[in-house]
């Protein structure tokens, strides 16, 4: 997961780094001046609400100065490249740069040439590691698995356009290493068997078969901006097969929870009544995000030595 001071993916073969970070986020015993005198930049080439705000808040709570940059209204419109933009900001003297970009591998590329810590806040359809950590924290706390962060025996269904989703890729690896049994659920083009094989998890094209046995159902946003619409035939009734409707939610196991990384398309992949209902962890996920990002920034600074 960590590569020097950089957090780029959730890949952590024995899970020790993941568990240590979750534990730190759960304890919440952060020093308010842990990052005093430090500067953190959030550099977002793609839009964001929760990731951006929670990183900023996390940095401020640890005493850092936080500067938010986004590509809208920037020199990107004058043709400045991603790498030059990053170097420009880095050269001003930031200790940690939190970066989001629409291309898979962007964070790794920047980290390879960076003099500061780089935190991946989402790169294309590749990874979004702090989202997966956030989801694991919320899920572990909700289901009483925070002692040792052992998720074995838990069944998690990730439902939707998995092939276009960095959240699915990050969660498949992270929840898997904690011991959960992860199943990617969606229409064949969105959850192909080959993807499950590549990510080391199961695949199902039948949500109704999965709904009654999952301990957690994580619905993904239909990413229309990433071409989700083109994966399915014209007129395909996504809702009939894969939306988390109120009727489906009623067939979930007692105590099973509903998750969504946001932003939601209410009425598309999830019914409003389910998102706002008693099983929903969605607001807890958002709250967990701030603690996770505090733990991430603290650890990145510690690793920067």
């Amino acid at each position: 997961m960590w590569d020097g001071p950089h957090l780029l993916t959730t890949h952590d073969p024995d899970g020790d780094e993941v568990r240590a970070l979750l534990e730190r986020a759960r304890e919440e015993s952060f020093e308010p001046d842990a990052l005093a005198g430090r500067a953190v930049a959030t550099v977002f080439f793609e839009d964001s609400t929760r990731t951006r705000v929670s990183f900023s808040l996390a940095g401020q709570r640890l005493g850092a100065r936080v500067v938010d940059w986004s590509s809208r209204g920037s020199s990107i419109s004058k043709g400045e490249t991603m790498t030059d933009t990053f170097w420009t900001i880095e050269s001003m003297g930031f200790d940690i740069v939190v970066v989001r970009h629409g291309e898979s591998g962007a964070a790794r590329l920047l980290a390879d040439h960076a003099h500061c810590a780089v935190i991946n806040a989402g790169d294309g359809t590749h990874q979004h590691p702090t989202q997966a950590l956030t989801d694991a924290l919320a899920l572990g706390e909700a289901l009483g698995r925070e002692q040792g962060w052992d998720f074995s025996g838990l069944r998690v269904a990730i439902v939707g356009d998995c092939v276009s989703s960095r959240v699915a890729r990050s969660n498949a690896g992270l929840l898997g290493v904690l011991g959960a049994a992860v199943t990617l659920v969606g229409p064949e083009p969105m959850a192909p068997a080959a993807l499950g094989e590549a990510l080391g998890c199961a695949v199902s094209h039948d949500l109704d078969a999965e709904i009654g046995r999952a301990d957690a159902v994580m619905t993904l946003r239909m990413q229309l901006e990433r071409g989700a619409g083109t994966l399915l035939p014209e007129g395909y009734d996504y809702r009939a097969g894969f939306a988390l409707t109120r009727e489906r939610a009623e067939r979930m196991k007692p105590g099973a929870v509903v998750m969504h990384p946001g932003p939601m398309n209410r009425g598309v992949e999830i019914d409003g009544a389910v998102a706002d209902g008693p099983r929903s962890l969605i607001r807890k996920q958002v709250a967990a995000g701030v603690r996770v990002r505090m733990a991430v920034l603290e650890e990145a600074m510690r690793r920067s030595g």
Partner: protein
């Protein structure tokens, strides 16, 4: 009509004490080689030539000058990446005395004027022989035929839209008819554009894990299969550039067993690396066609060993460091190859016993010479009276691929830092010593 390096008639070169290998004639024996007035004057034991420049070839192979039928010299149009002077400098440092440059320059090599311009430019600034491969279609757009007749008359030695396949079968058939008429080989960059829109790497486990758009083997194989039919119909000589998939090797094997004039080339990276390299190296390992999986690598090596794949070619594709320093989807395709090829081929094919040095030399001399009709000028072989193009190779020389060592303008190769064995220590082009490895560097 064809590129000639600046003649050096005043001096003679004597290459002493080496093992002379000439696959074209089957010669393989200890001998000295004397080159005078640009041509090979004598091959035999204990030659003497007072006043000649002497190259000590003890422990070395003395071979016909190596030929690379697939390079990108980037001039005209992209001289921040490479130009004819720097690219041919890299060529001679890698042991090559002849290169064939691909038409994706700006302007495209699709009219005789550009063929002539490059030929003249190479004569003025180049270190080795440069021949043009000209485009099959105007601007390599696959829509209208280029002036193939004019380009051939101006000296084009092959036809290709390299960088793109000619996707339209009707256009392809007409291009092959022109090639057959002129006895010029057509070299296809086999990539179905519809199957590879936005593709950046091999479609497989690694691409799915990395969230990158995949490029299936079928995108290559469907074009190969279609073209073999068209080659059968037209009688044209058809050559598959930079083979990447096991299926392509098998298609070539079948076509050749049928007696068709179908051939293919292997590049160093496809003989050594897999898509796993992307995970480590990112854009540095991004190439077109992409690195595939281990069974493809083994099938390609097997194809070379059993005579299915008869040509080795680097696809030398220089790009500036800042161009390559982009995420996978926006970085350009390609790596350099001229200076590293010999050692990498040796690693993939010779050091492991798959083929001998004699066969490797054939794959890099007489085979590409025949592909591009260069054998008709005596290139690709080493015989008395023939062109004074000779490469001296130390097969045991150990070295580490380092950017400081590279003569070209660009250093985009995933092989930086790799310890390799085998290197050209001297390159003679038209009787002139165009490259000689420094003595100090020779000591390992």
């Amino acid at each position: 009509m064809h590129a000639q390096p600046r003649p050096e008639t005043s001096s003679a070169v004597l290459i002493r004490g080496g093992r002379v290998i000439d696959p074209a004639s089957g010669a393989d024996h200890a001998a000295d080689v004397l080159i005078r007035n640009g041509r090979v004057e004598a091959i035999g034991p204990d030659l003497d030539a007072p006043g000649a420049e002497v190259l000590d070839a003890t422990g070395c192979l003395v071979t016909p000058g190596l030929i690379d039928p697939h390079v990108h010299l980037r001039e005209p149009g992209f001289t921040h990446k490479e130009d004819i002077a720097s690219g041919t400098g890299a060529a001679v440092a890698g042991g090559f005395t002849t290169v064939c440059c691909m038409p994706n320059t700006r302007p495209t090599i699709d009219v005789p004027e550009v063929v002539c311009w490059i030929t003249d430019r190479a004569a003025a600034t180049g270190c080795c022989r440069v021949f043009c491969v000209s485009a099959g279609t105007l601007g390599r757009k696959g829509v209208e035929l280029a002036d193939i007749d004019g380009c051939v008359a101006a000296g084009s030695v092959g036809i290709s839209d390299d960088g793109d396949a000619i996707a339209d079968p009707d256009i392809m058939q007409r291009v092959l008819e022109r090639c057959a008429e002129h006895d010029r080989v057509f070299m296809q960059h086999c990539q179905d554009p519809a199957m590879t829109a936005g593709s950046v790497m091999h479609e497989g486990r690694v691409s799915r894990r990395l969230g990158l758009t995949g490029w299936p083997r079928e995108a290559e194989e469907t074009i190969v299969a279609r073209d073999i039919d068209l080659a059968r119909q037209t009688g044209a000589r058809y050559h598959i550039q930079h083979i990447s998939s096991a299926g392509t090797v098998e298609l070539i094997r079948q076509a050749r067993s049928e007696g068709l004039a179908v051939s293919g080339e292997a590049s160093p990276h496809h003989l050594l690396l897999t898509d796993e390299a992307i995970e480590r190296l990112g854009s540095a390992a991004k190439m077109n066609p992409p690195l595939r999986e281990w069974p493809d690598v083994l099938a390609l090596r097997e194809g070379v060993a059993d005579g299915t794949v008869t040509v080795l070619a680097t696809d030398h594709a220089p790009h500036a460091t800042d161009e390559k320093r982009n995420p996978m989807a926006s970085a350009p395709f390609g790596i350099i190859g001229l200076e590293t090829a010999l050692a990498l081929y040796a690693e993939a094919l010779v050091h492991n016993g798959l083929i001998g040095w004699d066969r490797l030399i054939a794959l890099m001399t007489i085979e590409p010479a025949r592909l591009c009709n260069l054998d008709q000028q005596g290139l690709g072989s080493l015989t008395v009276g023939g062109p004074g193009d000779v490469t001296v190779i130390d097969p045991e020389r150990e070295w580490v691929i380092s950017p400081d060592d590279l003569k070209g303008k660009s250093v985009n190769t995933p092989f930086l830092g790799r310890a390799v064995r085998g290197r050209a220590v001297a390159t003679v082009v038209g009787g002139r010593v165009a490259f000689r490895l420094e003595r100090e560097a020779a000591v390992v």
